[in-house]
């Protein structure tokens, strides 16, 4: 391959890919492969943790704690997701540019708006919910609101970005047909973009709700009641049977959301 051909081949995206591959290879080469993976005597401890599953803690008293903790986790996740959707949907619509795509609209104004909203969304999601929750706990103390807001902000950033892409991927012909009925961009959003993107929007929102449940569980480690907080308490006392019960509740929550989401999606099939 001549130098010229090589230059043409090395476009921006390819350079980036090469860079990432090299970084990965370098980091793998830095790992000390001689060290054992577990700590010494880890085998016995692992066995002890595993055996605690048979059976997990099933006393009525503890199950009640689990139900309350699951309920709190679910409530934080749903409250956080609701705020995230309420913020993410309008921001996603703005970031997608579909509101301002009439043929006479100013292209520069549209691009500036899209770019600034995209930047805002990126800023919101670039800070992890665990960092947000520490910030909020520092600011407002150990209140459920801290967990809910901590989840809502990065999740709105993620949802907004994906919503924007899903709206842009809607087939163009029905949208163009609506435009020729004299409908404004806001009308077309309601009668074209949103209905056509709705299955994707919902499906992604449900997936994020699952992630939100895991996040809410983890966030409660800071001391707000929830599955994570209970796991922390049980771990501190080395009560692995209780940890297993709590994990089973967490899995059940996620599975239930998955079942709910597939029910909703099936009812929407057209």
């Amino acid at each position: 391959m001549s130098l010229r051909r090589l230059q043409n081949w090395l476009t921006g995206p390819r350079l980036l890919t090469l860079g990432i591959v090299f970084a990965l290879a370098w980091s793998l080469s830095r790992v000390d492969w001689q060290q054992p993976i577990g700590h010494t005597g880890g085998g016995g401890a692992a066995l002890q943790v595993l055996l605690a599953l048979f059976p997990p803690e099933l006393s009525q008293e503890f199950l009640r704690i689990c139900v309350v903790a699951s309920w709190h986790t679910l409530a934080y996740a749903i409250a956080g997701m609701s705020i995230a959707v309420a913020l993410g949907l309008p921001l996603g619509v703005l970031a997608s540019g579909v509101l301002a795509s009439s043929p006479d609209g100013s292209e520069t104004r549209r691009r500036t708006l899209m770019a600034s909203v995209r930047f805002l969304l990126a800023a919101m999601r670039s800070v992890h919910e665990l960092v947000w929750v520490l910030l909020f706990v520092a600011a407002v103390g150990l209140s459920p609101m801290a967990a809910i807001l901590a989840m809502a902000i990065p999740y709105a950033g993620i949802l907004g970005r994906i919503y924007a892409e899903q709206l842009q991927d809607v087939p163009a012909e029905p949208v163009a047909a609506l435009r020729t009925t004299g409908a404004s961009s806001a009308h077309i959003l309601l009668y074209g973009y949103i209905p056509m993107a709705l299955p994707d929007l919902l499906s992604y929102t449900f997936y994020r709700l699952e992630c939100g449940i895991r996040a809410a569980a983890i966030m409660s480690f800071v001391g707000i009641d929830g599955i994570g907080f209970q796991i922390e308490l049980s771990l501190a006392d080395l009560l692995f049977r209780q940890v297993w019960t709590l994990l089973i509740f967490l899995v059940a929550l996620v599975v239930a959301v998955d079942w709910w989401s597939s029910r909703v999606r099936r009812s929407m099939a057209y």
Binding site: P103, A176, G182, P195
Partner: protein, 285 residues
Amino acid sequence: MSTVRPVRTGEQVAAPEPLVTIKSAAKVYGTNQGLAPLSLAIHAGERVALVGPSGSGKTTLLRLLAGALVPDQGTRSVIINGKSPAELKPGRELASLVGIVSQRFDLVPHLPVLHNVLAGRLGHWTLARSILSLVWPMERRAAQQALARVGIADKINERPGRLSGGEQQRVAIARMMMQSPLVILADEPVASLDPARAEEVMELLVGLVSWNENDGSSQRTLIASLHTASLIRRHFTRVIGLRESRVQFDLPAGELDDAVLDELYDLGDDTDDIEPLAGLAARDG
């Protein structure tokens, strides 16, 4: 070359102002010539068929007329009833001026037929009314009547994806009825239909032109692209042949014989022999 052909009604002397005036409108897509500069005048009540092989510029011309594309020479090179569709803001005025039934795919598959038909009213509705209508359909009776007119009243709650191609085309026509514009455009409305279905859809479109919710009088104009000589002779008053984005002939629909059409479509075999078409254009002038 004069292409103006007023509809004669008794002993009318002065030709009325044309409803649609195209003054050397052209469209270039990047390096592709979509439509070479073209001038046309079309009068109220005319039913104009556009014929020509694929890529001859029919869709481009119709989209320019619908205001969905801006002509390269500026918005004023397409005028309908004194206004330029590409200049009009979305809303009632544009909705009542011109509407288009496209070739395919132009229904929203996720909304029931009822809402697809009501979408024809969006240009007339406020945003609040449109939002409310998604939950509590407005003007449901008018939509029912339009669907009954196109013969699919029973499909009002179906999803468009469950309908046949012909039924989907009827939904699009019912939507056009709700929009009720002065100039009705149709891009290959019968292209994917069998001859019987094509005849029915053509009758509906022509019926739309002579349909008025109030008094049944006709002042609407139809401009449609299609390829079937018999349908053109039966349903249209005028036929315009396009080839390589230029007008090759402009005839009363009755004078269209199959030979003229065959020549228009078959020229690809010997491209330097364009004499017959020049002859056709002259015959028209």
